[in-house]
């Protein structure tokens, strides 16, 4: 019986005081566009901006909860100085004025800069302004700068930038509208979350197949058409077995390989020689190929050259050379990579491996897309259509966070290259300003350290040979984190996870001041958390802190804030200017070049300052050359002024939109004093649509390359040739083998690592720790995932989000648990070779049987983030980090627990065992002393009129 209906009057919104603003979200690295509604002075509603290229109107849970972020009592409100007589880490501060705070910092930094700039270590965490902070560090003259990529996902960036010219992580995007087969590797949440969500829906509506390769079936994997539960750390084996099948079937794109990759380049085969494994080159230093038409070796290759993809040839000097593809095929066709042989180790059966490879090939070669778009290749030929092999992939942390992640990611790019599935319709495509040369032309300028002198270039870069390392004449690391040393030659994002341990050990040298921005190193961003906290407090024989001074800049009262000697409070994202710049971490999509801003939407209600303004202020006071006029006067008033008027190169600034004196130029143009206004008038973002002829195969698309040069993305218009065989890697290997005619490692352990891991072709090896740790004792792989509603440590202060996730369990496969006699909610000991912890267990079906996992970063120190000391985050949540050592086990040499190629922190190499607690062993362990509690409301009635 239907319910009778009636109507009653309802209150409708009062629009009288409504104000709408547009800005950019800040909760993760997605940088979605937001539309913010105010009612009078009050925040009313934050939603996605329908017109924004990244999110097109949608907004995730974190962004939708922005109001609670803004209203969090964990916000810092004034500069803080550690009280005299109190210990670092106790979190006891006195409020001071900005003048005093800046004076303290200026004095200390000036002393450092005048004597030994290396003594300043400036590292940034989850910020999104690395172009500015990197410039600042370069200008200060310290090589000891990086953001957090070294412990986050540098493996993805580096593998891509050394192989295809763009990368997973942030320099590429899937063509969701056209792809017909999509494989997601090792992604739980992560960049670039909302575009992936929007895209997956598109795939499903079009009936395209979505395969997810992941040990856990949650999140994106929940909706995958096929879930492939792989054993953590073995994705590379699986990927190379797919390569094996593709090669064995001959299901590869010969033309693509011939034209766009270095497959035909001839590799010198002369073991023992100093150029063994390097490319044979002509007198103009161009790599040699065999021209099957002319039946001769040549370095002059054009689109139409009939290159030999396979073969062994004799060089003019009589030595043998093989094509890159021949060497690759020889390796991957070996039985070692046959599906039957890899199946037991990676946990994916042989039939599935073959099926996946054949499905991919079937889609790539039988569902080809042809678009009626005329385009011109890098050699000047005009093509009437664009062809697409609509297979695409995306990969992230599950691949990156292993000590074999770099090679694994290169293996994924191999699959893409073999299928001809890169930057075509339906592929994983580049995002401007990429593609760039392989690798980008930027070398770490760590050698040129002098007082009061900027570095010759950026502190970070892409070494191509041993000469490019940041080491001294004796081979010792020049950087505090030892990035770009023999221990991590291609550490393109630095190694922030080694910073504190090295500084405290004074290895390679002690520092004076550690300046951290938005980085929670005293908690979830470190391995060996309790050890790291002790290191931050460690004192020398004289009773002085081994890290003499710690400056922390942050918006919220994190665990790291408690360890500061000086706290510089930052604003929230709704209270300041930001430039989400093409020079930084771009938000472009595949077909649009975009950047965006944030601007203050509401007045400041406390004595905090945007950290960028603080940096500009310090740079001006310390008279950095880029920040002063020729006459020595201060050049930039503030951050806004800096963003508008600073030019990296003539006409190239931080923001690409509305340049030129008249504001009508895009990408390149003179500074426009009204640029910020132009952005604000345009919903805080700028979008430039690439014309169709410039959208595809950009690495070999002449009109695009010319355009990119004009826009300042690249400096020449040579085609960007994808690298199967990586010559830079081989050079480092030669150095390890002591054959390289240049710098070579002296330490036998370093030599062995280079000789083994700098293989110019991707290969799979077990995670490094496995060799030292007894795999029979620690049988389980332990990993974390990021939940979709919490981003690292940054959401527990949010009153809405923490209702969803305030604690965490360790998840285990149901059968694995049953065999171990464990049940849901059991208290368990989880032990690694390094440490143990106590937490509660939950079982689930969708978990690879040899894997346990938990949500990342939920646990909090009691009292941090304005939470009560008895909050679940402090009493029942746990950090897996405690179990992870920042150094590899065993051996005399202290190698970091990282990928030997890039230094990427190997979080997911962790091996553990689990056992049930005794009846009286309950409660989370280890526990940490509480910080002073703040007074916070016990009840919230947000929205009350």
């Amino acid at each position: 019986m239907k319910t009778p209906t009636e109507s009653r009057k309802l209150p409708m919104p009062n629009d009288a005081q409504k104000r709408i603003e547009y800005s950019t979200c800040y909760m993760c690295a997605c940088r979605c566009g937001i539309k913010v509604t105010f009612e009078g002075a009050n925040l009313r509603f934050i939603q996605g901006n329908r017109d924004h290229p990244v999110n097109r109107g949608v907004l995730c849970a974190k962004g939708s909860s922005g109001i609670m972020k803004q209203l969090s009592p964990a916000k810092l409100s004034k500069p803080l100085k550690r009280r005299e007589g109190t210990a670092r880490g106790d979190g006891i501060f006195d409020e001071i004025e900005w003048d005093e705070a800046l004076a303290i910092v200026e004095k200390r930094l000036r002393t450092i800069r005048d004597t030994d700039p290396r003594k300043l270590a400036f590292f940034t965490g989850r910020d999104q302004m690395q172009a500015l902070t990197g410039l600042w560090a370069q200008q200060f003259g310290t090589p000891n700068w990086a953001a957090h990529g070294g412990f986050c996902s540098v493996n993805m960036a580096a593998a891509g930038l050394y192989t295809i010219g763009y990368s997973f992580w942030e320099f590429g995007a899937v063509d969701w509208d056209r792809t017909r087969y999509f494989v997601l590797w090792g992604v739980a949440e992560d960049h670039s979350s909302n575009p992936i969500k929007i895209g997956l829906d598109k795939l499903k509506r079009r009936g395209a197949k979505f395969v997810s390769i992941n040990p856990v079936r949650t999140g994106y994997s929940a909706i995958a058409d096929e879930w492939v539960p792989v054993r953590p750390g073995t994705d590379g084996l699986l990927a190379l077995s797919l390569v094996h099948v593709l090669l064995a079937d001959g299901a590869i794109d010969y033309e693509f390989l011939a034209r766009y990759t270095n497959a035909p380049w001839l590799v010198i085969c002369d073991p023992g020689a100093p150029d063994d494994g390097l490319f044979a080159r002509d007198h103009e230093s161009r790599p040699l190929v065999h021209d099957d038409g002319a039946q001769a070796l040549t370095g002059a290759v054009t689109f139409g050259t009939r290159v030999a993809l396979f073969g062994s040839y004799t060089l003019p000097d009589g030595r043998t050379a093989k094509t890159s593809l021949t060497l690759a095929a020889e390796r991957y066709l070996d039985d070692a990579y046959a599906p039957e042989n890899v199946a037991p180790q990676c946990g994916v059966d042989a039939a599935t491996i073959r099926k996946l490879a054949r499905e991919m090939a079937d889609v790539a070669f039988n569902e080809t897309i042809t678009l009626p778009i005329e385009w011109t290749d890098a050699w000047g030929n005009v093509h009437p259509t664009v062809t697409g092999r609509p297979v695409s992939m995306y990969a992230m942390r599950g691949i990156a966070a292993h000590s074999n992640g770099f090679h694994t990611c290169r293996a994924l790019h191999f699959i893409q290259m073999l299928l001809g599935a890169l930057d075509g319709p339906g592929n994983f495509r580049a995002r401007a300003p990429y593609p760039k040369p392989i690798p980008p032309k930027q070398l770490p300028a760590s050698a040129s350290v002098h007082p009061r002198t900027p570095l010759a270039g950026s502190p970070l870069g892409f070494p191509m040979r041993p000469e490019d390392l940041a080491i001294d004449a004796d081979g010792n690391p020049l950087r505090i984190d030892k990035a770009f040393s023999w221990q991590a030659p291609l550490a393109a994002h630095g190694m922030m996870h080694m910073l504190i341990a090295n500084a405290v050990a004074g290895d390679p040298y002690p520092i004076d001041t550690l300046m951290l921005f938005m980085a929670n190193m005293a908690w979830n961003s470190s391995m060996n958390t309790t050890g790291t906290r002790e290191m931050l407090r460690a004192k020398d024989e004289k009773g002085e802190y081994r890290i003499p001074f710690i400056i922390v800049a942050d918006a919220f009262r994190s665990e790291m804030v408690a360890f500061a000697d000086l706290v510089l409070p930052d604003t929230t994202y709704l209270e300041r200017h930001d430039a989400i710049s093409l020079l930084d971490r771009p938000i472009s999509e595949a077909d649009t070049i975009s950047d965006a801003i944030r601007h203050p939407l509401m007045p400041l209600d406390r004595d905090v300052r945007p950290f960028q303004d603080v940096l500009v202020e310090l740079a001006s006071r310390l008279a950095f050359s880029a920040f002063v006029n020729p006459d020595g006067t201060r050049r930039y008033r503030d951050y806004c002024d800096f963003i508008v008027r600073y030019e990296k190169a003539p006409g190239i600034g931080f923001l690409a939109g509305w340049r030129g004196a008249d504001g009508k130029s895009a990408l390149v143009g003179a500074p426009n004093p009204r640029q910020w206004d132009a952005y604000i008038a345009n919903q805080s973002f700028f979008e430039f649509h690439l014309p169709p002829a410039l959208q595809y195969y950009r690495y070999a698309n002449r009109r695009y390359l010319e355009f990119a040069r004009t826009a300042g993305f690249i400096t020449d218009i040579e085609p960007i040739v994808m690298q199967l065989w990586s010559e830079p890697l081989q050079k480092f290997r030669l150095a390890g083998l002591q054959q390289y005619p240049g710098p070579k490692p002296r330490d036998a352990a370093d030599q062995a690592r280079l000789a083994t891991y700098f293989d110019p072709l991707p290969f799979w090896y077990p995670p490094l720790a496995d060799g030292e740790v007894d795999a029979n004792a620690y049988t389980l792989h332990a990993i974390t995932q990021r939940p979709m509603m919490m981003y690292h440590s940054w959401d527990s202060q949010n009153a809405w989000l923490r209702q969803i996730v305030a604690d965490n369990h360790l998840y285990m496969n149901v059968q694995t648990a049953a065999q171990a006699g464990l049940a849901d909610e059991d208290w368990i000991w989880v032990e690694s070779h390094h440490a143990k912890l106590r937490c509660r267990l939950r079982t689930m079906e969708g978990c690879e049987p040899n894997t346990v996992w938990t949500w990342n970063a939920i646990a909090k120190q009691p009292g941090a983030w304005a939470l009560a000391a008895d909050a679940p985050e402090a009493t029942t949540a746990f950090l897996l980090n405690h179990l992870i050592d920042e150094h590899l086990p065993g051996g005399a040499a202290k190698f970091s627990n990282s990928d030997p190629v890039t230094g990427q922190a190997a979080w997911f190499d962790l091996r553990v065992r689990v056992r049930k607690c005794a009846a009286d062993e309950t409660g989370v362990w280890p526990q940490v002393a509480a910080l002073p509690e703040q007074v916070v409301p016990q009840r919230l009635r947000w929205g009350a009129a």
Binding site: R802, Q803, I804, V805, D807, M844, G846, P872
Partner: protein
């Protein structure tokens, strides 16, 4: 279900009061047709005690309201809401009951008193039925959605009411063998009904499963899996409690449940039956019997709530309700 103390007190006290009053009124009517009305004082006292119980219970019931200032509106949806009906009939009953007692206290008899007695009897039964139907009309709660519930309420109201009556008479130094026989019959009947109810509780009829709640048979399952495949909760979506977990997530521990079952069996049925059968006249024992029965009823009502498993529990991970 969350067992609100105020609701337990309300239904137990009011139930006993209404049952007792109904018997007083029924007895009066019977005498009215058989013989001249004899204004028996102990009965009037008993009826008054019954009314006090009803009013006390009704007052207690308002305590369970989160926003009592709107309680005056509770008669609005009489047409569809058993709670509205209960409110209306309860108020009517109190008015009629006061009138009836006034007639008795002032010694008025005859047709007016018979009419008012009949009215109060019908109203008492109606209020008991409405109270029970508040619960029995709820489809999501299998433990309540059965005609056994109004039957049990009716029988327990009368069983507890008649025990109170016998006790009141004993305290006033008098008694009635007829009443004692009726009491024994009512308590036995109530016990049988409860036994039948508990068999129903433990049975398999009309169960709803998690799979049904999610729509597994409608396709919410892995491709190719049979429609009989099993489901389980992975994550309830919040780390601590909600209104739903507090209101519907109560699960008695096996120990507490066992204690309550024993308390119910002994307190509501066995001990009162023994006391009735013994014929003991001691006022102190009478008071004791009432207290024991009320305690047993509190346990019975507590079980009534905490053993009721609402379908929303399925969405919180329970496999079957």
């Amino acid at each position: 279900m969350h067992a609100a103390l105020s609701v337990i007190v309300f239904t137990v006290l009011s139930g006993a009061g209404l049952g007792a009053f109904a018997i007083v009124a029924a007895d009066d009517l019977c005498r009215a047709f058989i013989a001249r009305i004899d204004p028996s004082l102990p009965w009037t006292v008993a009826g008054s005690v019954a009314l006090v119980l009803v009013v006390a219970g009704l007052c207690a019931s308002t305590l369970h309201l989160a926003n009592p200032k709107n309680a005056w509106r509770s008669a609005t949806r009489f047409r569809t809401s058993w709670l509205s009906r209960e409110a209306v009939f309860a108020l009517l009953f109190v008015g009629v009951a006061i009138a009836y007692l006034a007639l008795r206290w002032t010694g008025v008899g005859g047709v007016p008193r018979a009419v008012v007695a009949l009215l109060s009897l019908l109203l008492a039964w109606t209020v008991i039925h409405c109270t029970a139907m508040i619960y029995a009309s709820l489809k999501p709660i299998r433990a309540w959605h059965t005609p056994r519930v109004p039957l049990n309420y009716l029988l327990l109201a009368h069983a507890s009411g008649v025990v109170v009556l016998v006790a009141v008479l004993r305290i006033q130094g008098t008694g009635s063998t007829t009443l004692r026989a009726i009491a024994i019959a009512l308590v036995v009947a109530a016990a049988l009904a409860k036994w039948d109810y508990r068999r129903y509780l433990a049975g398999d009829t009309a169960r709803v499963t998690l799979e049904a709640a999610l729509g597994v048979a409608q396709g919410v399952r892995p491709a190719g899996a049979p429609a009989t495949v099993a489901a389980r909760l992975l994550d309830v979506g919040h780390s601590r409690g909600t209104f739903l977990t507090r209101e519907f997530g109560v699960t008695p521990t096996p120990r507490n449940r066992a204690v309550a079952l024993w308390a119910m069996a002994l307190g509501t049925y066995a001990i009162p039956l023994a006391w009735l059968a013994s014929g003991v006249r001691s006022p102190a024992m009478a008071v004791g019997a009432c207290i024991v029965m009320l305690a047993g009823l509190f346990a019975e009502r507590w079980l009534f709530f905490v053993e009721a498993r609402h379908t929303v529990r399925l969405y919180h991970g329970e496999h079957r309700v």
